[in-house]
Amino acid sequence: MLWVALLLSPEQNAPQLNEELRGLSLYALQYSPRTAITENAVVVELEASIRLFGGKRNLRDRIVAEVEALGVEQVAWSSTSLAALAFARAGKENGIRGSLTALLDPLPMETLNAVEPHLTTLTQLGCRTLGDIRALPRDGVSRRFDKRLLVAMDQAYGLRPEAHVWIEVPEVFKAKLELMSRVESAPAMLFGARRLLLQMCGWLAARNAGTTAFRLRWLHDAMRSRDAGDCGEVTIRTAEPMRDVEHLCRLLAENLAKVELAAPAGDLELEALDVHPLEELSRSLLPDPVQAGESLTLVLERVAARLGPEKVLRPVLVEDHRPEWVSQWQPAPQTLPRKRARQNRFPQPSFMLPAPLRLSMRGNKPMYQGVLQLLAGPHRVEGGWWQRLAKDGVENTGNVARDYWVAQSPHCGVLWIFQERLAGDETAWYLHGAFA
């Protein structure tokens, strides 16, 4: 058996400590479901998880690197949970190298919680270490002290089985964090938020799930101005279920960079909104080089987080004869329609102007950087009266009556221009696209 004890610093008031222990246990659930809270520490049994996480050394390095952000003061390893806790309290990390008895004996006896009620008596007997207690005659100890001390000693030394109440994975994730000091700018909240994200990712891993939306809420502290409100929040959505701390943290950072706090924030709250089962990639011996699709989604998400989701677009083709309505654009993460529009077999430009540009004339010839030479046409496009468009409060129809021509300009290549038909005095030539 391999136990790890994650010891929180004891100088905290009880409700805050409970909250932190709960968060820490959620984080630890990703390593093993055999996670329990003992006094002011979380103990996890990891024997069955060693291979999954790439060996003892890798597992140890990963846990030690991650728990620092969660406020853990000491990590200790041993073969029983009470011994691991005792090593953590004594400030030693390694309790697995060598025989357990030899390692436990020199530890001070206060490291075992069951010693606490009898500390005075034991001190007067001349006991200093756990080894001293163990050296006392066993029947005498059981008569002189209560049963708990002997049981705890036996459990710590691995002579008696331990019983734990395992933490259950909660159905929803909602965690709170009181910031150490008031935070005045949004990006500075990231440090605290990262701690909550670590907990959330541990919880997601324990449920074999990933999140597609989570919400960070910050509560303004009491000394806020009246119009600031109670709290502010930011909701972050991802295209695919995700539980990678680094990626979620980067997304949050991009979003927080745009937030301006109405008042200094004192507390953070993180909530997982949408949780979906996540299928992990198999870790094969030969790595698969074709994993590009996933990573492109990630980078587009990051770009969208900075530039805005309406700036990263994918085309959706619609069957419409009016060129400006054929390509519609939608944010990249949205799924494309299954049904494909039929392809237009007539020549079409490859670039369009956002709005038709009215051309000036020389005589009866349209000009755009020189007189245009009309090559092919007309391609008549008409209709659209059924479509109602409201622009600036004026309702209009999308009706067009145009003759499209392919024209060549001496300086800017082949263009796609049209003449407005049936427009009375408004008849004019417009530039609409380019065969670039």
């Binding site: 770009v303 085309p315 060129p323 654009w329 079409q348």
Partner: protein, 266 residues
């Protein structure tokens, strides 16, 4: 020197009829000797450009991967798809995603479909400011997940280009940077710089400003009819320059003044 010791006679001298001397190297020797008139042979990772004539001039016979390529044009959005799309088509056919960053006009997919691209594998990133364009381009290059990247960078400094080039060394997709013509007088870290312009008779004039190898002297003329226009072109329309009317001023009853309206500013 080891080559020389293994081959006591590394080359023979052949004397031509007119007294021209030509060196014929043994095969082992010719592999290690680089001649000044050859194209750089260490550009190996390329994608075919789709223009056989252009491929012959490009080092590694194609657009390079793992580096950036500059395409310089007098005006943006005049001929980019015409020159690039034959090379992009095989990438798209293999399932690569085409990412377009900051084009000056809206891409129109019906026309691009005619060129063999796909609407399912097209991503348009509307980056407006120069900093946004650079950042987005760099992120995509670093991620090495797109099939091809085309970025319009009207304003970019040489050191920013160098940064992109360094990032691109680990990017398998070809990266095209569309820049204005005036950039040809600035130094650039891009190993391949191509200047392109369109002429009247459905031709593209391509001049390679910089490549790994000897300088490119003459201009390549590539025949290209854009966007499905080939299906409607009559033989007469294939040479529009012959259609241009020679302006004969009408001298009867009017003074010989060609009306000069002001040029369109847009």
């Amino acid at each position: 020197m080891s080559v020389l010791t293994h081959h006591p006679q590394p080359f023979t001298t052949r004397t031509g009829g007119a007294g021209a001397r030509e060196l014929v190297l043994s095969s082992a020797m010719s592999q290690v000797v680089w001649r000044g008139d050859e194209l750089g042979s260490h550009v190996v990772d390329t994608v075919p450009s789709g223009w056989p004539a252009l491929d012959q001039e490009l080092p590694g016979s194609g657009w390079p991967r793992r580096s950036v390529t500059e395409v310089l044009t007098a005006q943006p959005s005049v001929l980019e798809w015409r020159i690039l799309s034959p090379g992009l088509k095989p990438i798209v056919d293999e399932g690569g995603q085409l990412v377009v960053i900051g084009p000056p006009r809206h891409p129109h997919l019906p026309g691009l479909l005619h060129m063999g691209l796909s609407d399912k594998q097209f991503i348009w990133i509307q980056a407006d400011s120069p900093a946004e364009r650079l950042w987005t381009t760099e992120q995509l290059i670093k991620s090495n997940s797109a099939g091809a990247i085309i970025s319009w960078l009207p304003k970019v400094r040489p050191e920013q280009l160098r940064r992109l080039q360094v990032c691109a060394q680990s990017c398998e997709a070809p990266v095209f940077l569309c820049r204005p013509e005036s950039a040809q007088y600035e130094s650039s870290a891009a190993p391949l710089r191509v200047h392109a312009s369109a002429s009247q008779d459905w031709e593209l004039n391509v001049h390679i400003l910089k490549r790994k190898g000897p300088s490119h002297e003459q201009t390549l003329v590539l025949n290209s009819v854009p966007g499905g226009l080939a299906s409607i072109l009559t033989p007469r329309l294939r040479r529009p320059s012959a259609l241009t009317p020679i302006e004969v001023p009408h001298a009867v009853g009017r003074p010989i003044v060609v009306p000069r309206t002001e040029r369109a500013s847009a």
